[in-house]
């Protein structure tokens, strides 16, 4: 199939609690479907290569880099983007610790932390490091993010 192929296929999924049925090209990337078709621009493009984590969303509760997923792959699945989180403990901890500067990587970090909290609510320091090293923040020193994460996981600072 050439990437010029403009044939569209129906895809049905749930994002932030809302059912969506849309038609997409086979080559459409999930990040851009969320941003361009559904207006969910909170997920950011930082590399389109799975290197930076700015596009992280939850698919079935698990953090996924949406730049590495085709939209047709999420047929029948349930997703949460940053727009689906309101007053979550992770967001509150990021606010309290001002764990961001420019804010561009922040949705990805928050969603990744949220996924970690869902899957491993008692994660230790090393597990947290392994999960969070998949995201890049260029502005902060990570110290602020570490403090926020420690609040969420009730670790000692």
């Amino acid at each position: 199939m050439s990437s010029l192929d403009s044939a569209k296929y129906p895809v049905e999924f749930e994002v932030n609690g809302e059912k969506q049925t849309i038609r997409v090209r086979a080559a459409d990337i999930l990040l851009y479907t969320l941003r361009d078709n559904l207006g969910l621009t909170g997920s950011k493009s930082g590399c389109d290569n799975g290197d930076c984590g700015a596009c992280t969303i939850l698919v079935e509760g698990f953090p996924i880099k949406s730049c590495l997923m085709l939209t047709v792959e999420v047929d029948g699945k349930q997703m949460t983007t940053i727009e689906g989180l309101r007053n979550s403990p992770v967001q509150n901890a990021f606010v309290k610790n001002q764990a961001f500067q420019c804010g561009y990587c922040t949705p990805g970090f928050i969603v990744n932390c949220e996924g970690l909290r869902n899957k491993l609510p008692h994660a230790d320091k090393e597990t947290i490091r392994v999960w969070l090293e998949s995201n890049i923040c260029r502005c902060t020193s990570y110290e602020e993010i570490r403090n926020a994460v420690k609040d969420v996981f009730s670790l000692e600072k």
Binding site: Y32, L40, T81, Q98, Y104, L132, C137, C139
Partner: protein, 785 residues
């Protein structure tokens, strides 16, 4: 809030020194922030850049017929369609290459299409025939007499600011510092050292890629949305390049996703404008992919430097001779100015009476460079501080004591012969003293061996002035709302540093009111906001801050004159604070600002005054251009100083190392928001440690960059951060709001030097070449045996 103490005086809480959160906090944690690429309009066309695969080559033909055949492609634009030269201070750069390409990644064509992926595909189908030219791949190579010329017509380029290109060579700019008497300086030097250092080019790597939209309206107005640090310079550059009246160029800059200097250059805007014009003025969007952002848009400058430094038997610095060869890349852009900055502060914050420095911005066939956090200073500091450490070692002195003894102070002069005083120079000895206690310098060993692990600590000092145009300035307008709150209008861009929030704190302090009553938009709009030169050089709180204080004074006069009529007194009887205008001697008696903010209406309907609107502006004072032969002049309003340290643990089996601790003490003049200040400093330190430990563009022998993505161009990640220590000294700069000094860039400046000094001590070999990867350490050790 306003209260009254026992004696009936006014008690008002201060906004200074308070860590209030960013105004846009909740937008940023909920994903509703709109950066430029989050804005879309129906029918928007997409633009993609076709780039050069060669570092230096003649363009023979460009064939876009295959690209034009793809359905959805609207237009292909080449350099010949807009044969103009752009760039400041030296107009040496066609926005799209015309006769030849000068770097790998240079734009050779633009494609406009109705879909982003169509434009991308078409860009790949543009066929360009090149004839390869010999490439210049380092600044030292560029200086050779027989080096190929990157620019053959250097003499013909228009100059917008002072810059001294040398036609017939690859020198884009040369700054000379000639101070004192070199012969005498060397005669009095019992010890001398000479070091050669190199820092390769690297990337700003802001998380948000550069992005710009453009639309040309039927009446000729051009509207941009751009992720930029320089919305007002975009207006001027587009106006000059395309002969459009400046008032017809309107730039919107929303929140910016990081920039670090990289978004101060004007590049995308030229391309977006051309693209829009080619399709009849339709709205177009140009967004860089990460790869294009890294190699096609401007990068962080490189440096090859030689420093010769001498001191007396007692360790007093006497003379220095410095050669800076900045790797400016294919076009000079702000690299030409950065090389000047590298000369202005070439000695570091030390008293040296005899100085000879040539600082050159070299053309090479590398990507072109622009401002990067620290503006030439991380580079010059790395060179000088390696020499200082060597010399301290040679005279067998503690490296911090050596620096303390030679610290520059009031009464001394800079390399540009500017006389320093307690206001225009921070207190370096105090910073060094505080650093010592912060890291227990005197009590813990500087080097400690534990089996194959060696812990070592290295230090450095830095200084920086801003080197702006001598007329850089800013304006501010404060508009009172009917509820007594204020809208603050100004042109400082929020790039993550927290400036717009900190500016509301300055205004709150001046008007002695609650900072929650001061509102500020997130974005900048050149049509409605007063001009601000650029959000660069750690100068926004200084320039815009002073404009705001002047605007507040203007508003206070208006408030008092309305209140004086209502309260039947003289304006001079009154004072303003906590949302009220009140009698100086009877603070309990006053009128609330919301009653007079839109004029005061008497019971009979008569009204006096109207909406209270304060206006203020400020421009740099007493700055001068530098003498081209000696460098004499006054480049900046003040010098921020600081001292830094890094502790590493080197594994001598693997040559890997951990950065254990990093510390900075900086003279901030006055800390406005402690949390922002710490975060700016540690953020800068993190960027500096990442830069020094791993960041570099890797070129093949043809000049192509082989690591243009984050998988191969590594950045520091979560978990690698050391323990950070930060402290402040507060020596006021009398010209600045509440005495503040610039601190946005400075955490970065000394990190490469301090890391190299610590690793040199740990490894026992001189480490003078960045980045300090395990491979670099291993090679240096093995080459030395």
């Amino acid at each position: 809030m306003l209260g009254y103490d026992e004696k009936g005086g006014v008690k008002i809480s201060s906004s200074l020194g308070k860590s209030i959160p960013r105004k846009e906090t909740w937008e940023k944690v909920t994903g509703i922030t709109r950066y430029v690429n989050d804005i879309s309009t129906p029918g928007l066309f997409h633009v993609k850049i076709a780039i050069s695969p060669h570092a230096h080559a003649k363009i023979i033909t460009i064939d876009s017929s295959e690209a034009m055949k793809i359905p959805g492609v609207k237009e292909v634009i080449t350099g010949r369609d807009f044969p103009i030269l752009t760039g400041s201070p030296l107009a040496d750069r066609p926005p799209i290459a015309i006769d030849k390409v000068r770097y790998y990644g240079e734009p050779v064509a633009l494609v406009v299409a109705d879909q982003d992926y169509i434009a991308e595909m078409a860009a790949n189908r543009i066929k360009v025939v090149y004839e390869l030219l010999p490439a210049v791949l380092s600044p030292r190579e560029a200086l050779q007499k027989n080096a190929p010329l990157v620019h053959e017509r250097l003499a013909e380029y228009k100059q917008h600011e002072e810059v001294y290109p040398e036609p017939g060579t690859n020198v884009a700019n040369r700054t000379k510092i000639r101070k004192g008497n070199m012969e005498e300086g060397w005669r009095k030097s019992h010890h001398t050292v000479e070091v050669e250092v190199t820092l390769p080019q690297s990337d700003h790597a802001a998380m948000e890629m550069r992005c710009c939209t453009a639309e040309i309206m039927p009446d000729g107005k051009v509207i941009f949305h751009s992720a930029s640090q320089s919305p007002f310079v975009i207006r001027r550059a587009i106006s000059q390049s395309f002969h459009i009246p400046i008032h017809k160029v309107i730039v919107h800059t929303p929140l910016v996703g990081g920039s670090f200097g990289g978004k101060s250059a004007i590049q995308m805007e030229f391309l977006a404008y051309m693209a829009s014009r080619a399709v009849g003025g339709r709205a177009v969007k140009l967004v860089n992919s990460r790869e294009v952002d890294m190699i096609s848009s401007p990068v962080h400058i490189g440096l090859d430097a030689t420093v010769k430094l001498g001191c007396t038997r007692e360790g007093k610095l006497m003379a220095t001779e410095i050669l800076h060869l900045y790797d400016g890349g294919a076009y000079s852009d702000r690299g030409a100015v950065m090389s000047r900055s590298g000369a202005i502060d070439c000695t570091g914050p030390y008293r040296i009476d005899n100085v000879h420095c040539d600082s050159l911005c070299m053309y090479t066939n590398h990507p072109y460079s622009t401002s990067y956090r620290g503006f030439g200073h991380p580079e010059l500091t790395f060179a000088m501080e390696r020499a200082v450490d060597l010399l301290a070692n040679l005279v067998n002195m503690d490296p911090l004591e050596f620096r303390f003894n030679n610290a520059i102070g009031p009464g001394d002069t800079t390399p540009t012969q500017t006389l320093l005083d307690r206001s225009n120079l921070g207190d370096l000895p105090m910073c060094i003293a505080k650093l010592k206690s912060l890291i227990d310098w005197d009590d813990l060993p500087h080097r400690k061996i534990d089996g194959h692990l060696i812990k070592a600590r290295g230090v450095c000092c830095f200084w920086k002035t801003s080197d702006t145009p001598t007329d850089a300035g800013a304006g501010a307008v404060i508009v009172f709302n009917p509820d007594g709150s204020i809208n603050l209008l100004c042109g400082a861009v929020e790039i993550g540093q927290g400036t717009r929030t900190a500016l509301t704190q300055l205004l709150a302090e001046k008007l002695r009111m609650d900072d929650q009553m001061i509102h500020i938009s997130t974005g900048v709009n050149t049509e409605t906001d007063p001009q601000h030169w650029k959000t660069v050089a750690s100068r926004s709180t200084f320039l815009v801050g002073n404009a705001i204080l002047n605007a507040a004074d203007d508003a206070i006069v208006q408030l008092k004159s309305i209140a004086a009529i209502v309260m039947q007194c003289l304006p001079t009887d009154l004072d303003v604070g906590a949302g009220k205008v009140f009698f100086k001697d009877r603070p309990a008696k006053g009128i609330s600002i919301d009653k007079i903010a839109n004029g005061y209406k008497f019971p009979n309907g008569n009204t006096i005054g109207g909406q209270v609107i304060g206006r203020g502006s400020y421009a740099m004072r007493n700055l001068t251009s530098l003498d081209p032969e000696t460098g004499k002049g006054n480049p900046g309003p003040e010098w921020t100083v600081g001292a830094q340290a890094v502790e590493v643990e080197l594994n001598t089996k693997e040559y890997t190392y951990k950065i254990v601790k990093a510390a900075t003490v900086i003279d901030a003049g006055k800390v406005i928001n402690p949390e922002f200040a710490r975060s700016q400093v540690t953020g800068g330190m993190s960027m500096g440690l990442s830069l020094a430990s791993r960041e570099a563009f890797l070129f093949n022998d043809q000049g192509a960059i082989i690591n243009p993505q984050f998988r191969t161009y590594k950045l520091i990640r979560y978990g690698e951060q050391p323990q950070y220590f930060v402290d402040f000294v507060e020596t006021p700069h009398l010209e600045a709001p509440y005495g503040l000094r610039g601190i946005g860039e400075h955490g970065l400046i000394g990190m490469p030097a301090a890391l190299a000094n610590s690793l040199t001590l740990a490894a026992g070999v001189e480490l003078n070449h960045l980045p300090l990867t395990p491979e670099m350490i291993w090679r240096t050790i093995h080459d030395s045996v």
